[in-house]
């Protein structure tokens, strides 16, 4: 954590970086995902504590439904709690962009569409509208997930080219 977020972030900020991209499960111990000890968000808190918050752009993430402590059945409230925990770990009042990190296991078909809709609705109402994040978005989503969230009905075929997804995302999704 020292290497990542105190020693490395400091010169990055000095060099002109203002956008910090992180997540609770970005670990502070060199492991990757599913942290065995502490999140590097705690290190980021130390690195930015003397910075002008208004000049930083902080992106963080909440896990997908059914992943890393977010239950499928209670995905909305669990995601809201994860978003609030991120704020505590980072020592900030708001994030600039909050992303849903991944779709649920097995994708966004009929099995999971209602669940990610609940997740998105909860985060919109309890995090975005209460100004705890300035923007809300998703990452690693495939087109079926976008169609579900946007209520388009017909689910696209899984495995669509990522380039198409990116275009679709830029065109439609970040709120």
């Amino acid at each position: 954590m020292l290497v990542c977020c105190v020693l490395l972030l400091h010169p990055a900020l000095q060099a002109g970086f203002t956008h910090i991209d992180t997540a609770h499960d970005y670990c502070g111990d060199g492991s990757t995902g599913d942290c065995k000890s502490k999140s590097n968000q705690l290190g980021i808190k130390l690195a930015i504590q003397k910075q002008d918050r208004s000049k930083l752009f902080i992106t963080t993430k909440v896990p997908g439904c059914g992943l890393q402590g977010i239950s499928r059945a209670n995905c909305g409230p669990d995601s809201v709690k994860a978003a609030l925990d991120n704020l505590v770990e980072l020592g900030v009042d708001y994030t600039d962009l909050l992303l849903v990190h991944f779709p649920p296991p097995l994708g966004c078909g009929a099995l999971n569409c209602g669940i990610i809709q609940q997740q998105w609705k909860s985060l919109s109402e309890e995090i975005l509208k209460t100004n705890k994040t300035r923007a809300l978005g998703v990452s690693n989503f495939c087109i079926s997930c976008f169609k579900c969230l946007l209520g388009d009905g017909d689910e696209a075929k899984e495995g669509t080219s990522r380039r198409v997804v990116v275009l679709y995302c830029v065109a439609s999704m970040v709120r």
């Binding site: 203002t18 991209d21 111990d29 962009l97 923007a135």
Partner: protein, 311 residues
């Protein structure tokens, strides 16, 4: 695709490893050693008792032997699962009586020691020398006693346990006076003799504090007004201040993207995912970097690695 790839990578990381799980109370730390980790029959059957989602007192790491040094019992083949061990560790007896309101702050990362959260209730003074900062891993010696309610730095001398309060008050007054006179950098490093200041390449002034560091020597970032102290673990002392960073004068300009709700987002971010070497290697070999986002993160990692870690 990326998602499944990542799941695959995590799965590989979990396989064939001895998983350590610890569950702590203020008095004890129980440690499970589980061959084959999350894939083991033990975990699939009994893991619900120890998973960190339902048991916040548990973590997937070993007990901190600096805090719980005494091994009080060991159970082999827990619940009949061959090779699974359960070890119970206890903490050292805490001497009764003294209550100390002095706070201790890590000189490297500014973490303030919290006995309950960081040391199983053990006062800072009673921690073993092998104890390290839970945030940045700096040694116990990196911690300094600090700050009264007015924000003055108060260095407590080693005779602080004296019953003679006036003695302490005098020492504190002396040190505060010295602080007032000190020139930049203003961080004080207490000393008794010159040997205590050799890592700052200076001498012990009046037997109280090291004279201001010479030749860019440093212990912490605050010793280096124009840069930072290269005090990464593994660097031999005396540590040196990094050269003044020219980028400060010439910051790069990052283009922005305007999101659909009007929020302006810098298009380049400092990614903070720490890759370990094996994961980075595996990702490259698997061709993951056809994904622009991961390639971007990897580029940032390379930037940091090149520009900072090798200094």
């Amino acid at each position: 695709m990326l998602f499944f790839l990542l799941v695959g990578l995590l799965g590989l990381a979990h396989a064939d490893k001895l998983l350590h799980v610890r569950c702590q109370s203020p008095e004890n730390c129980l440690q499970l050693n589980i061959p084959h980790g999350f894939d083991s029959a033990f975990w699939k059957s009994m893991g619900y008792k120890y998973n960190t989602t339902e048991h916040p007192e548990c973590e997937y790491i070993e007990c901190d032997r600096a805090v719980y040094p005494h091994e009080s019992s060991t159970t082999h083949d827990v619940s009949g699962y061959k090779g699974v061990d359960l070890v119970k560790y206890g903490k050292p007896p805490v001497s009764a009586g003294t209550t100390n309101t002095t706070t201790y702050t890590c000189g490297t990362c500014n973490h303030v020691y919290n006995a309950a959260a960081d040391g199983g209730g053990v006062p800072f003074e009673q921690l073993p020398d092998s104890w390290t900062c839970p945030v940045c891993g700096s040694p116990k010696s990196a911690y300094k006693p600090s700050t009264d309610s007015n924000g003055h730095v108060i260095w407590i001398e080693e005779h602080e346990a004296d019953d003679d309060d006036s003695h302490n008050t005098e020492a504190i007054t002396t040190v505060l006076a010295a602080k007032t006179k000190a020139t930049a950098p203003s961080i004080l490093h207490p000393c008794k003799n010159d040997a205590d200041c050799k890592n700052l390449c200076t001498y012990c002034q009046n037997g109280v504090n090291c004279h201001a560091p010479a030749d860019n020597c440093c212990l912490i970032d605050a010793d280096c007004p124009e840069s930072y102290c290269i005090n990464t673990a593994g660097h031999p002392q005396p540590w040196k201040c990094h050269g003044k960073m020219e980028q400060v004068e010439n910051k790069m300009t990052v283009p922005s993207i305007v999101l659909s709700n009007g929020v302006s987002m810098p298009a380049i971010a400092a990614g903070t995912w720490e890759y370990d070497q094996n994961t980075a290697q595996a990702a490259i070999e698997a061709g993951t970097f056809s994904s622009p986002s991961l390639f971007f993160l990897y580029s940032l990692f390379s930037f940091f690695h090149t520009n900072v870690l090798h200094h």
